[in-house]
Amino acid sequence: MLFSSMTFIYVFLPLVCTIYLLARKDLHNYILLIASMIFYAWGEPNYLAIMLLTILVNYVGANYISRSKNAVHRKALLGLTIIADLSFLFYFKYFNFVMENVNAVFQADIKFINVIMPIGISFYTFQALSYVIDVYRGEVKVQRDIYKLALYICLFPQLIAGPIVKYHDVDEQINNRTVTFEKVAYGIKRFIMGLSKKVLIANTLGAVADKIFSQQADAFDTLTSWVGAVAYSLQLYYDFSGYSDMAIGLGAIFGFKFLENFNYPYISKSITEFWRRWHISLSTWFKEYLYIPLGGNRVSKIRHYFNLFVVFLATGFWHGAAWNFIFWGLWHGMFIIFEKMSGWHKKEGGILLSVIQHIYTIFAFVVGWVMFRADSMAYAWQYLKNMFGLLKEHELTYKFGYYVDNTEILALIFAVILAMPICRNILAVPYKYKTFRGIINIWLIGLFLLSSCFIASSTYNPFIYFRF
């Protein structure tokens, strides 16, 4: 089920909220757990079993780890649990990709498996890993109640698109949390903000990007290729951050406080800063569970760069089983290593340097997103060549005006403005400014109705030709 679907907003959400708010507090976790299971099983019930197996494996693994006093046993148990978790991920997400490459390199003929990747598997696997590693490190107490552990792994607000909640961040909240008017109101507002970002901005810009990226790279001119890359960069940010906002908002409605996942990444002055602001839950996950265990920066310079290389290789690979994701990860890794070597990200100076730093960062991530968006590296390469005027255009090409209308231009303007921290504290207006708060509430209801109208219009499905 998608947050931006009619069924979620107008059936699932009101029913779950009503039951949750009316029920006794000691039933809250069970209600959320059942709701999360329904939410996950809604589209593809078969894959619920994979998630349940993940829960069971981590519950058993963590319990044995906590009971064992032998360091070797503990390590072995941790290793086994991690292997079990990653094997699910590997089988469903990476097996075919690896086999495709093995076949290509060794001229082998290993058959592909016919599986569809379970939705959200990358997210809940990482959450499960976070739990078992935290228990191993002794940072949290083992969760003896399997229902609570299940709730942590499959809590529906962040189940399918994050943020990746680390166990030590919500351990206490699972056991004890309160629902207040403030939290509910804040949660609703945050949800509406996220929904609007997704529906009004990301989807609108997505239409522009899709139109451009769906064509041969030589079928449009250079300006159009930049429009496509920028539209996609903004679409991705608003889509992903919108989803995170909705997740954080829903969490607040149920009394949870999830950490922020985005912090205006497009205003960064370096790629290092970008990764402190973009998908924070993933970058901190890799930092805590990969980068630091590898030695972090408390090692030799070469080893440090190697650690960064590994982290960004893993980041790229986490995003998808294709070479373009790996190259995208390495592209970012390359800039990070360059910045560490040159100290570019720490340089401070006048406005000119600041502008240059912004341009450099925008250039790096926009080019990176082209790799991320392309269906293959070959297409990405052609697209990038077009962006830099190195591709011979088709004899008939479209100009960028073909791809954008007023609504899309409007969305583009809003997207650029709102990517800057201008409205950062709009939901935190003090209560004493009642009128202003009231205006914001009305504006949010308006946004919600408008977003709903856009979502509802997507259900229009005319049968064009004569009906049988």
Partner: protein
């Protein structure tokens, strides 16, 4: 103090219970009881059917808001009596029809299935001054009032009084399946739930500086969340979308657990939630307001000139060269197959509307489509095909100066456009069959209409691109359908002797006047539908098999001509095979001969 708060909570709970129980009407009553006024859109549209002695049929419709009297011509089309929303007071209405002598009139007063439960009273129904019904008669949902009458003269004046029915308890309990027990149970349950909710809200821990503004905000949000669920449409089909609406499929079926329940539920809910049509209209209005070009999916409406286009019509202008190579090979293989079976094969590629009417496109797209290079480019591609191919771009451009060759509200060509294309095709065929009869305009009854006839069913409508753009009939008729399109009906019309839409779309025409002429196997896309106004008059037989948009065939398989119709071609043993497709569909020929 505490008591005062409790009293307030009770009052709020009672108010919310009343609102809730009204919203839950369908649960204890068959459908929603209309309490306020009844919109005339719920009245059976075809309230009056006039069957003339020459078998022509006219309809008298009742809908909308406006006049009390309407004069209608017997022109085979419908005529609308506009009446106010029905009140509890009597209103007199009158239809005036010109009819053929001895016409039969069917009075068909009723309420549509999607209407809330209500009754409409009719009284004092007179025809040409003769009172045919003196007592009050009633029409309700599923129980229309019908009466057949013959009219002697040439004029029909139907006059009647109409009003909303005053409800009685009997109406509620008997006619509308009102379930009193359920009503009481639901009311009590709802009240208890809401009371609990109020208590809960009161107990919510709030900080010192809490704000009532936020509490109001939460309440408003909660009410909005429940609105779409509150009234689920029970209609079977959507006229605007031209399709059957999804039906509810339970989780547990006779075959066991329905694993696709989630998808099924979403389809059902997405088709039926309250406010759906309102959302479409609102979305359309916003987009029309914001943009000079209103787009939805791959369709667009140019606000300044009312022209509609398909965006992919422009996008497909550039065909991938590698794909074209493969298409060329496929066409070559089709040629080999036809040669082997002694069949002449011809192809007509219809230019896309966007290239013919490039100047009507947005300025940014004109640049591409206006280029002379575009047609040269297409011609270059088509010249590589082994089979004789005609691309009537120049002919259509020239003909467009005389009249519209494509519908403004559809991607199909008009019958005038099809006639131009037909002539170009016949010119090509004449090289091999010089004696072939090319049908002439004087063989046709030529007339005009603002409506569009374009598809398999040969019915007049508002145009297929209009449907893609959520444009409802009313808006289309008022703002868009302002041009006259020319239609050609042959004076000695050949109707298909055989049609089949169960598995394929097949039409078979036999021309008894040209028994010795060649037999044609025609295939291709929807453009053929208007071409068939002319083609059967040049050949002894024409059998038409549609490629795309046929039942149970996915798009990628649609163009596998030999895989799908090889047997039929060989069994029919035609002299000529004509492949007629639009330029946009050329890449689909990539699978033409795959078996």
């Amino acid at each position: 103090m505490k008591k005062a708060y409790s009293w307030k909570r009770t009052v709020i709970s009672v108010i919310l219970t009343v609102v809730g129980i009204c919203l839950l009407t369908p649960m204890y009553c068959r459908g929603n009881l209309s309490l306020g006024y009844l919109q005339t859109r719920f009245i059976n549209k075809k309230a009056l059917i006039v069957v003339n002695s020459d078998k022509t049929i006219s309809y008298g419709e009742m809908s909308g808001v406006g006049d009390d009297k309407i004069e209608c011509d017997s022109d085979g089309l419908s005529c609308r009596l506009l009446i106010q929303d029905l009140l509890y007071e009597w209103q007199r209405k009158e239809f005036v029809f010109s009819v053929e002598p001895d016409a039969k009139v069917v009075i068909n007063f009723g309420i549509s299935e999607s209407a809330p439960h209500s009754i409409v009273d009719y009284n004092d129904i007179t025809i040409n001054g003769n009172n045919i019904v003196k007592n009050i008669v009633q029409a309700s949902r599923g129980k229309p009032y019908n009466k057949d009458i013959k009219v002697a003269g040439k004029k029909l004046i139907l006059s009647f009084k109409v009003r909303r029915h005053h409800f009685t308890t009997r109406d509620l309990c008997v006619l509308y399946g009102f379930n009193g027990d359920l009503f009481i149970s639901l009311t009590i349950l709802l009240f208890l739930c809401l009371r609990k909710l109020m208590n809960y809200a009161d107990k919510l821990k709030t900080t010192d500086n809490n704000s009532q503004i936020d509490i109001v905000f939460i309440l408003v949000f909660a009410v909005i969340l429940f609105l779409p669920m509150s009234r689920i449409s029970t209609a079977d089909k959507s006229l605007q979308e031209n399709r059957i609406l999804a039906k509810y499929k339970p989780l547990f079926t006779s075959q066991g657990l329905n694993l696709k329940y989630g998808d099924d539920f979403e389809k059902w809910f997405n088709d039926r939630f309250w406010g759906r049509n309102l959302s479409f209209r609102l979305y359309k209005d916003i987009m029309l307001y914001l943009n000079n070009i209103y787009k939805n999916g791959d369709s667009m409406l140019m606000k300044e000139n009312n022209w509609m286009f398909q965006t992919h019509g422009v996008r497909y202008a550039i065909q991938d060269y590698r794909k074209m190579q493969q298409v060329r090979q496929q066409v070559s293989l089709l040629n080999d197959f036809c040669k082997e079976h002694n069949i002449k094969v011809y192809m007509i590629v219809i230019p896309n509307k966007e290239s013919i009417y490039a100047e009507k496109l947005p300025i940014t797209q004109q640049e591409l489509m206006k280029l002379r290079g575009f047609t040269d480019y297409v011609q270059k591609l088509l010249n590589r095909f082994e089979i004789p191919t005609v691309f009537p771009y120049d002919e259509l451009r020239k003909a467009s100066e005389k009249d519209l060759v494509f519908f403004k509200q559809s991607h199909h060509w008009t019958e005038w456009g099809a006639y131009v294309g037909y002539n170009a095709l016949m010119e090509l065929i004449k090289k091999d069959y010089p004696d072939i009869h090319v049908t002439q305009p004087d063989e046709y009854n030529i007339y005009t209409s603002k409506l569009i006839r374009e598809d398999w069913d040969r019915k007049f409508g508002t145009g297929q691109t209009s449907k893609r753009l959520y444009i409802d009939k009313k808006y289309a008729k008022q703002k868009l359908l302002l041009d006259n399109y020319v239609y050609y009906d042959h004076k000695e019309e050949i109707l298909p002797v055989y049609t089949d839409i169960d598995l394929y779309k097949v039409k078979y025409f036999r021309n008894n006047k040209l028994k010795k002429g060649p037999k044609v196997f025609l295939t291709g896309t929807s453009m053929n539908e208007n071409l068939l106004q002319f083609l059967p008059y040049s050949f002894s037989e024409v059998i038409y098999y549609r490629l795309n948009d046929t039942k149970n065939v996915k798009n990628e398989a649609a163009f596998m001509l030999l895989k799908r119709y090889k047997k039929e071609i060989l069994a029919y043993n035609p002299d000529i095979l004509i492949l007629c497709i639009s330029y946009n569909n050329i890449p689909n020929l990539i699978n033409l001969t795959l078996e």
